[in-house]
């Protein structure tokens, strides 16, 4: 396309008043997405945001692009249909954790295994925001809510692991306020296929602080592991902790680096293309004392849904003729 002047992040903001609660993590994500589009030089006319229903799903209204706010949980199916009709659309999907993992779990599963070429942003605030704070499938054990006054007892779904289980070709995790969120979004967008990003998002009203350890400047270094392809997995404010694989227990283990500790050369090195490693990372933070991995957990090249279903329009005259032939196919007979 031929944009006369390059658009800035603000040019991707629609004229609609943003209606999230002040302090909601969604604002930071909105800014990061607008910046991503600006950096990418995205054509607003060819960009579409789909969404389901929920606080997160209001997202399309705030983007100066095409947008379709659909029904609860089904955004992925709408996006799939749109790509069936027009594979060249630059499609994004925004959906909450309830939207993606409860009512829409089936569609998330299938959009991933079909590898539809969209960016899937799962805003995970581990709660139902729009309906005022019930537990979601992503809520941690013990989450108190109007529907679980004594604390939730169902195991939470781990979105990244679910995605890998569904044969996702690209899985990343990020925190809403993360400075380089836009970089991860760019990676997801550049990926051919479903670029699935779980964004850990703070709901300041109904689940405030669940990600403090990951977003608080002081706490984050000791609690997050920034994944870099080809680099050893190291974290900590002092960069003194590393990850190894313990053969004896067949599980990951945190070790100390430096004097008296392990040498960096013995650490696990991140390899985005290693599914076994990705599966381990997807549940790493369920082990006490382990950091939350952020960044691209996994990526692989695979044929996209669009590549399989793309269909050039046949000429009107030829279709006309084909239909005529079709009607006259098989056994026909003349009545005089």
């Amino acid at each position: 396309m031929n944009l006369q002047t390059k658009l800035g992040a603000k040019d991707y903001a629609s004229d609609q008043e943003v209606r999230w609660c002040p302090g909601c993590g969604d604002y930071a994500i909105l800014r990061a997405v607008q910046k991503t589009l600006a950096d990418n030089g995205a054509d607003p006319a060819n960009t579409v945001f789909f969404s389901g229903i929920g606080c997160a799903s209001r997202f399309p209204y705030y983007m100066e692009t095409y947008g379709f706010h659909t029904i609860h949980g089904r955004g992925a199916a709408f996006a799939t249909g749109a790509k069936l009709a027009n594979p060249d659309l630059d499609a994004w999907l925004v959906a909450g954790d309830g939207d993606s993992l409860a009512i829409g779990g089936n569609h998330l599963l299938h959009v991933l295994r079909r590898n539809v070429d969209i960016v899937y942003l799962l805003f995970n605030n581990e709660i139902y925001g729009l309906t005022k704070g019930q537990t979601s499938p992503a809520s941690r054990l013990g989450t108190r809510s109007p529907t679980t006054p004594a604390g939730s007892r169902d195991e939470p779904v781990r979105a990244a692991r679910f995605a890998l289980g569904a044969s996702a070709t690209f899985v990343a995790r990020a925190v809403d306020v993360q400075k380089d969120l836009s970089d991860i979004l760019k990676r997801a967008h550049a990926h051919k296929g479903t670029g699935f990003v779980e964004i850990l998002q703070n709901c300041i009203v109904f689940n405030d602080g669940v990600y403090d350890k990951l977003s608080n400047k002081k706490l984050a270094p000791d609690n997050t592991l920034k994944l870099v392809h080809g680099e050893p997995m190291i974290w900590g404010a002092e960069r003194d902790k590393g990850l190894v694989f313990d053969i004896a227990t067949m599980s990951p283990k945190a070790v100390s680096l430096g004097e008296g500790g392990v040498d960096a050369s013995q650490l696990l090195v991140h390899d985005e293309h290693n599914l076994t490693l990705a599966n381990m990372l997807a549940t790493l933070d369920s082990i006490p004392g382990m950091p939350s991995p952020l960044g691209v957990l996994y990526s692989r090249e695979a044929e996209t849904f669009e590549a399989r279903t793309r269909m050039d329009r046949a000429e009107t005259a030829s279709v006309e003729q084909k239909i005529g032939q079709l009607l006259n196919s098989g056994h026909t007979w003349a009545v005089a």
Binding site: I53, H69, R74, A77, G81, L84, A85, T309
Partner: protein, 628 residues
């Protein structure tokens, strides 16, 4: 050649053929006996011999029901004649029963004095008991009211197969050819040509030449058996002369084919690609199969979604992106799609939903026919969510109604429900092939109008502009939250909701101006009695009215294709009749609709047996109504 019949000549034994005007034949056997194929091939041979015809395939829900059981019985009925045939027939003139279960299940439909042909090899002690008979019905006089031709069809088939030199086939494969033996016999009985069936066998088993040879041998053997065997005098061959049907090129078409091809044609006339998104469900699945076969040469994409909801959503997504999204299903699946259909109505996007109705509620009777989703179609959504409902009346009619559904969806930016049913989907009829080049196109436009706003409306149709993503200068957002009149922005404003609700209603109501006035299919336009139907009851209602007129009772047939909005003249038309009878395969849904719209007095004739109406049922009800 054996099968070069000379019309007007007696058969191989010099027996004169009795000329009859029409006949109803039912092939019945175990699910594994190939009765649908047998019926289908007999249908083809019959069509080729110039009769008009209608068929009724009826098969169990189980794919492989236990052998010999009554619930495993599969049947195929055909009514053919030298006159116009509109139903599959009420009572059987010939029943072919391949086993005891097929006999016990179907006997009630056989006319007294009619011909029953049985494979006596299948009447083993075990299978007689399995069917629920205490003793062999062939031997105890229980069939004395009929003409019974008991033949060792399986043995005869085996003999025929053995005569095929060098054929390497298993015992099982040999036995399976018995349906062809039976078919051969029936072809002889009604003076039909074998050639088309022989061709079909050759094509079907092109890769299995031995199987093709034994099936042809069985077919020949059955035919020859009839032709040259001495039989009791009451068993003799028939002649059903060709019917006087309008000249033209004909083919057999099933409702599934006609609706699928109609959708392709409709999308083409709209100059759009067809995106058919579906999830398998009986009796709608065939559409997905048929359309998948067509593919890109026809501008058709098919998508087997993860569930019915996703299928509807994907179809809407495709329409949003500028093609014609269509989803096909049956009642339970349409129930799942309901929320998505509401979104299509709210966002005012074209969508066609084909509902091949089946018996309900819930899973109900998956393989049986019913028309009990009329309430669901017209009224079955949350909110005030009007849309368009049209119904097909015969297998061939599905072609034109599918085109009509596409036309209205695109022109008015609305969901349209097209109602067919299990009977229409599976049944076939000879179809006068239309000249497709004469169909008027109705090209869709994605152009940005002057002063574009997503919810500005065309003053005449009240449709909003269909500006699709990818269009420069048209960037906008749509969604399920109430949209502001014109701009389409989110609006919770009370007055605006009233305005938008009115717009949606007025748009659909206004479509009444764009559909044909209601015609009277048969009989005078006012008078003593109107029999009002919709959907697949067309055949039986039409024949019933025919019969009433013959019996000297003034009667008319009104058959409604556009069920919502209803034709503008319908109220007045109904007001011109002293009596109104509404037969339908549900508990009275059209009756309710008509009463609520026109406050007219009418008599509902409900039937939900999973089978089409018999002509006689409607005649009886009509007589009772007018004669009191």
């Amino acid at each position: 050649m054996m099968d070069a019949l000379v019309p007007g000549k007696p058969d191989g034994m010099g027996r004169e053929r009795e000329t009859i005007e029409s006949a109803v034949v039912r092939f019945a056997g175990d699910s594994g006996d190939g009765m649908q194929i047998t019926g289908g091939q007999f249908t083809l041979a019959t069509a080729l011999s110039g009769n008009d015809l209608a068929t009724f395939p009826d098969f169990p829900a189980e794919i492989r029901a236990p052998i010999g059981t009554t619930f495993g019985v599969s049947s195929f009925q055909i009514n053919f004649g030298a006159r116009v045939v509109r139903t599959a027939g009420d009572q059987l003139d010939v029943l072919v029963a391949m086993n005891p279960a097929a006999l016990i299940v179907n006997l009630a439909d056989v006319k007294p004095g009619a011909l029953i042909i049985v494979d006596e090899n299948a009447f083993t002690v075990r299978d007689i008991a399995k069917a629920g008979y205490a003793e062999n019905p062939l031997d105890n006089g229980s069939l004395d009211a009929y003409r019974v031709l008991r033949l060792p069809i399986t043995d005869y088939t085996m003999t025929a197969v053995k005569s095929v030199e060098g054929a390497e086939v298993s015992n099982k494969e040999s036995v399976r050819a018995k349906n062809m033996w039976a078919l051969g016999l029936i072809l002889w009985l009604f003076e039909r040509e074998k050639a088309a069936v022989v061709d079909w066998i050759a094509t079907k088993f092109a890769k299995l030449p031995d199987i093709a040879r034994i099936n042809t041998a069985a077919l020949d053997a059955g035919y020859i058996y009839g032709d040259v065997t001495e039989m009791a005098p009451e068993i003799h061959p028939y002649r059903v002369p060709p019917a006087a049907i309008p000249p033209g090129i004909y083919r057999n078409i099933s409702g599934s084919e006609a609706v699928s091809w109609g959708l392709v044609a409709g999308a083409h006339l709209a100059r759009l690609k067809l995106a058919f998104c579906s999830y398998p469900i009986t009796p709608a699945t065939n559409m997905l199969h048929l359309l998948t076969k067509l593919g890109k040469e026809f501008n058709v994409t098919t998508f087997q979604a993860e569930d019915e909801i996703a299928a509807a959503c994907a179809a809407i997504g495709a329409s949003y992106a500028g093609e014609l999204g269509v989803t096909g299903s049956s009642g339970p699946g349409v129930a799942l799609k309901t929320e998505a259909i509401g979104l299509a109505a709210a966002t005012e996007l074209p969508l066609v939903i084909v509902n091949a109705q089946r018996g309900g509620p819930s899973t109900g009777l998956p393989t049986k026919t019913e028309q009990s989703d009329l309430y669901q179609s017209v009224w079955g959504r949350n909110g005030d969510t009007p849309l368009v409902v049209v119904a097909s009346r015969s297998p061939g009619d599905c072609f034109d109604t599918a085109i009509e559904a596409c036309r209205l969806a695109v022109k008015y930016m609305t969901p349209v429900i097209l109602l067919t049913d299990g009977y229409l989907s599976n049944a076939s009829e000879p179809w006068h092939i239309p000249d497709f080049s004469t169909y008027e196109p109705f090209p869709a436009s994605h152009a940005i109008p002057a002063d574009f706003k997503p919810y500005n409306r065309d003053p005449e149709t009240l449709a909003r502009p269909w500006v699709v993503p990818g269009t420069p200068g048209g960037v906008h957002r749509i969604g399920g939250i109430e949209r502001k009149d014109g701009s389409g922005e989110i609006s919770y404003d009370a007055d605006n909701h009233q305005i938008m609700t009115d717009h949606r209603k007025n748009k659909i109501d206004g479509i009444a101006r764009d559909i044909p006035d209601q015609e009277v299919a048969l009989g005078p336009v006012s008078g003593r009695l109107a029999v009002v139907g919709w959907g697949s009851t067309y055949g039986p209602v039409n024949r019933a009215v025919d019969a009433l007129i013959e019996q000297g009772i003034e009667a008319s047939h009104i058959h409604i294709r556009h069920l919502w909005p209803l034709p503008r003249n319908l109220g007045q038309l109904l007001a011109g009749f002293d009596n109104i009878l509404v037969p339908e395969m549900n508990t009275g849904q059209l009756a309710t609709l008509l009463r609520s719209e026109y406050q007219c007095e009418l008599k509902s004739q409900p039937k939900v047996s999973g089978r089409p109406f018999r002509v006689s049922e409607i005649v009886d009800a009509a007589r009772e109504l007018v004669e009191g």
